[in-house]
Symmetry: C2
Subunit: 161 residues, 2 copies
């Protein structure tokens, strides 16, 4: 846990509500992983949804760079919250930090995730059952919420779930 | 250099043109850095522009997490290209991999970057001259271009600049 400094605000109910809203409404996200071999932080796009417990989930192909990286090292961060018009830094976003769990294709869990994911991403029915596609779930440990200039918060897992 | 496999297409003129377009039109981006202390890949938002040589630049506060991380380890990746409607994964995006150079406030370079940055981000005039804000420039080494499903390319620095 980093020491809080004066640039980090005390966590409020509004901050927790905003965090939850950003996660629940997210359609896509940017995921940062460690590139295998180089250790370079690598960012790419994922399409996301939430499961019945409010955890962020996504569908990934074994062929994609981030999937290969996650299997090697499950530590990631995922940013959600898209800017509207005007200064892009004035719009809220949150970086969720945690570890990724791969959902095995043979597990019952997969069936539970399929429906909420397809509800959010109907076009994914074209490839959701391809053999190289798997579900992944984020286990959040902490988060950095940025509600706009001068509105930075450090949230815990409990603040979000 | 990673060995190319069948999922990576041969780099075409169209791919190079798309890469350049994504960079030139970007208003904001997701940057992945290594979190100091933990080594966790951390993603956050930056507002971007390009300098006169087509290099990606951004303005960052010393107080932000990604600025602190970059000063410790300049290896980053930056993703640009925002989705439109429909499946977010069907829209093109590019991950630029390289190292960040901090532009000193006292350098002449800063004056050259100020105008193009403010042209792209007029509201930044509210804080661009604050003492804790600095310009940063990405020195691209390579890139992963994703033009949509089945359209993955691995680009070199020369393909982009």
């Amino acid at each position: 846990m980093k020491q809080k400094n004066k640039t980090i605000l005390d966590t409020s109910t509004d901050a927790r509500t905003l965090a939850r809203k950003l996660i629940d409404e997210a359609n896509f996200a940017a995921i940062a992983v460690l590139e295998p071999g180089t250790g370079i932080p690598h960012v790419s796009r994922i399409a996301v949804a939430t499961d019945n417990n409010g955890h962020l989930i996504f569908l990934g192909s074994e062929l994609s760079n981030h999937t290969k990286a996650i299997i090697k090292d499950p530590r990631v961060s995922i940013m959600v919250g898209e800017p509207g018009k005007g200064d892009p830094l004035a719009h809220p976003r949150i970086t969720l930090i945690g570890e990724i769990e791969k959902i095995e294709r043979s597990s019952k869990e997969r069936d539970l995730l399929r429906a909420p994911y397809l509800e959010r991403h109907p076009k994914a029915k074209l490839y959701i059952d391809f053999g190289d596609f798997h579900f992944f779930r984020l286990h959040i440990k902490r988060a950095n919420l940025n509600g706009g200039f001068g509105k930075a918060y450090e949230l815990t897992r409990e603040d979000i779930l």
